[in-house]
Amino acid sequence: MLRRTLLAAVLVAVAAFGVYWWLTAPAALAVPLPSRAPDLANGQEIFNVGGCSSCHAVPNQPDRLRLGGGLPLGSPFGTFYAPNISPDPTDGIGRWRETDFVSAVMRGVSPEGTHYFPAFPYASYHVVELDDVRDLFAYLKTLPAVPGRVRDHDLPFPFNIRRNVGIWKLLFMDSQPFVPDAARSPQWNRGAYLVNGFGHCAECHSPRNLLGGIITAQRFAGGPNPAGEGWVPNITQKGIGEWSEKEIADFLETGEMPEGDSASGAMRPVIKNLAQLTPEDRAAMAAYLKSLPPVDGPTPPKRKQGGA
């Protein structure tokens, strides 16, 4: 009897593990990539919309194009260290094939076929257009190679098991491409694409649930800073309803708020990236943001307790 129970338990465990393994299998994006001449100017624009430099540039040095990585990114699940994405052949992405890069950006799957942690915002990038990713890859290849492998992430069990990210992706990651809204202007659609795709604004400007998934109903409604101290503002019309479309676009360029203040904290590096965009792209993002219906976000804590 005991033996039979044990056998049954083992079988159940094996079956459960099989289901887990099947559910969590990293799925690379296998699409044909017909040869084409990359548009480096577009690649640069995408690089700046995506804010790649804010996380991947070597910290504490002035050159935002040295993408040797190393910046620590705090989270409730541990500390992530942004990897080297410079074209260095051993420590960066110099040996990557174009398909490797596409799978990494749009599916969060590494060339070795493992999941990336969603600190890399592929849950936003999955909506982007293939040609934009290809142009970005070509642009990255033109930047200086920076030697030096970045240390491993510092995550406690069970968050350090990459396979578990497969479950996270099932729960929180959509894999539909961006669908333009025919009822809206091309400018609005361009803005929606930039804000939700490469811009990945919602990644910080939305509250998250216990498992780190964005709470969809409160998308863009702000919340506690996922990387640590402070509060990320509500950017629906509930939060910035008094800002005109033009003022939003100006803010994205200069960081200056209509109420007479400047962006601070983690938004500062974002502004440095967005300042490089074409005025048309900033205006498009502003048009889309201005259209977001007012949504109440979570309530900030009354007062910060002791600050040591």
């Binding site: 402070g230 509060w231 007479g260 601070s264 007062r303 910060k304 002791g306 600050g307 040591a308």
Partner: protein, 149 residues
């Protein structure tokens, strides 16, 4: 009776300490607000044409900012360990974890001010001065200023 006195005086001392800490936070906040009043309330408004260019007001604003910036290191010497009640922004605890780095952000602001002082003559040169100073302010705000709500 003695015991009551001790309890009461301890409570009073405690309340006093809390008040003092709030007072420190308020002083720090006021210093930043005073700079912002000149930087945004006067200079930025003039660069945008919201108020007319006024040479005397510009010179005064720059002088006030210069004087206020010189007080930052001292005013932020003590960690109040609390934010100003109902404030939207506050100082990060990182200020006091790495006070030397925090302080090292001040001389570049002062240099930006000295560089433009006396050379502002019109809206165009004011705009350039505004950006030069503001960029150095935000270099520090990127790390040490926290949005609270």
């Amino acid at each position: 009776m003695k015991r009551t006195m001790i309890v009461v005086s301890t409570l009073l001392l405690g309340a006093g300490a809390v008040m003092a800490q709030q007072e420190i936070a308020v002083q720090q906040d006021n210093l930043m607000r005073s700079i912002a009043k000149n930087q945004y309330g006067i200079i930025q408004k003039m660069t945008k044409g919201e108020i007319p260019y006024d040479q005397k007001a510009v010179d005064q604003a720059i002088a006030s900012i210069e004087a206020d910036v010189a007080k930052i290191a001292k005013t932020f010497e003590v960690n109040p360990k609390q934010d100003v009640v109902n404030a939207t922004y506050g100082a990060s605890p990182k200020v006091w974890k790495s006070k030397a780095d925090f302080d090292s952000k001040i001389p570049p602001v002062q240099k930006a001010i000295t560089d433009v002082k006396g050379k502002i003559t019109d809206v165009a040169s004011l705009k350039a001065a505004y950006t030069a100073i503001n960029d150095r302010c935000t270099d520090c705000h990127e790390t040490y200023r926290v949005k609270l709500k």
